[in-house]
Amino acid sequence: MSQKVLLTAKEVNIILHRLACQLIENHLDFSNTILIGLQPRGKFLAERIKQVLENEYQIKEIQLGFLDITFFRDDFRRGEKPLEANKTQIDFLVEDKKVVFIDDVLFTGRSINAALTAIQSFGRPSEVELLVLIDRRFSRHLPIQPDYRGRQVDAINNEKVIVKWKENEGEDLVLIETKN
């Protein structure tokens, strides 16, 4: 097994600022926008984006929720083991709001497909966008593309993209791992 660094902490930080600016371009003061981090790994990116928007760009009162898609997945009973759920925390309705899904890696698109179904339990959003840190090109099973992407990579099937966060793993780092 070999590992290659894709993004260092400094690069992750620059990308977070760029993504935040791109969000501001489209959402201005975020009064009608809701950020939704997809559990489990999108949570860290969503919290980080919110911090940057609040601390660096003085945008206040950003609504942030976390959505778990376990019970909406299309591979229930097809995997080896049952799928373990995480906490969903959405304390508001998304009716007529602009929703931005936030996840760390976009791969097959199936999680996003499940999230599109899951979010309907909380109302009918006026539109839904997708923000990802890493977009794995040429690996999609569904016609789903991100609206905001940090970095696009061409990773083949025996490669895995690993995103580490300071809050959880001690440092910000993106790696590509190759199984031999």
Binding site: D68, T70, F71, F72, R73, F76, R77, E80, K81, P82, L83, E84, A85, N86, K87, T88, L93, T117, A118, Q120, S121, F122, G123
Partner: protein, 308 residues
């Protein structure tokens, strides 16, 4: 990834503490789901479940049906009163006929102890026991423990007294197993005639005085007087039962602490507990009902994930 150690839920006796923990963790998520504006998830859309009730039930059947529908399973329900059972069909034949319609899971209530176990050995489907005679009623015990955990933070170390007809009660037996497995202390309280002989061998102490039992307990689980099962007179009169084993507001107020009051339903108001106790803030009876749906969703989801 965690999964249950069993393929059927026959009784608490057959599962482990880690199973209970997993069911409760999963139920936490489902409790959040059933409080959403849209209370439904599509997980079990390719699963068909038969609810086979050979004995009357309102709340358990409704609770299971609701849980199954909130998971998007297809549901067929069957009551013995309107079926060919009356024409003399055997249990295995009835269930196999239902299974040949491609059913993946069977939820069964039956008057005979061991019926669910027998079925799990003889038919090819995942079985959930919804009560078999005076044997077990595992989902009721799970939702009772879940409600204690919710009210008091934890089940371990808590003192629970089960009051009433222990002899005929599957709820009592499942509760004793479940509570002890989680580290709670259990006592039973009721007329001698309604306590099984050798109940102490389960590690349960008998307390004949209700006041003493309540002074000791954190939680009182008040069982229903099951008039339909009382074939002979086990106590002189309902009035006398109520005087000795009925919980009243005055009795609760005279204790120097708050005891959580539970009841598996349906309540005989004025017999096991008075109306003002049933409706008081100490009572968690309606929380039990809400938690019942979440716990049954968790059990169904976890067992369905093991169907290959």
């Amino acid at each position: 990834m965690k999964e249950l150690s069993v393929n059927h839920l026959i009784g608490i006796k057959y599962i482990q503490k880690s199973d209970i923990d997993l069911i409760f963790e999963t139920a936490d998520h489902f409790k959040e789901v059933i409080n959403r504006p849209i209370k439904k998830v599509p997980s079990l859309r390719d699963i068909t479940i038969a609810n086979v009730f050979f004995e009357n039930s309102t709340r358990t059947k409704l609770s299971f049906e609701l849980a199954q529908k909130r998971l998007s399973a297809d549901v067929i329900s069957f009551s013995a009163a309107q079926s060919s059972v009356k024409k003399g069909e055997t249990l295995i034949d009835t269930v196999n006929n239902i299974l040949s319609m491609k059913v993946d899971m069977v939820v069964m209530r039956h008057a005979n102890p061991g019926a669910a176990h027998f079925l799990s050995q003889n038919v090819k489907a995942s079985i959930i026991n919804a009560g078999d005679g005076a044997h077990e009623h595992p989902t009721q015990a799970l939702l009772d423990s879940y409600t204690i955990r919710e009210s008091l933070g934890d089940v371990a170390g808590k003192k629970v007294v089960i009051v009433g007809d222990i002899l005929h009660s599957r709820v009592a037996l499942s509760n004793i197993f479940a509570l002890q497995m989680q580290g709670a202390e259990v006592r039973v309280c009721g007329p001698k005639t309604l306590l099984p002989k050798h109940i102490e061998s389960l590690g349960v102490k008998v307390e004949s005085n209700l006041r003493k039992a309540l002074e000791w307990a954190d939680v009182a689980n008040m069982l229903r007087v099951q008039n339909e099962r009382l074939d002979v007179n086990y106590f002189p009169s309902t009035r006398e039962y109520t005087q000795q084993y009925g919980v009243t507001k005055e009795l609760l107020d005279s204790l120097d602490k708050e005891v959580v009051i539970m009841h598996p339903g349906p309540i005989n108001r004025g017999v096991e507990i008075t109306s003002d106790v049933a409706d008081s803030k100490q009572s968690v009876i309606l929380n039990q009902v809400e938690n019942g749906v979440a716990v049954r969703m968790a059990v169904t989801y976890l067992l369905a994930s093991k169907i290959k």
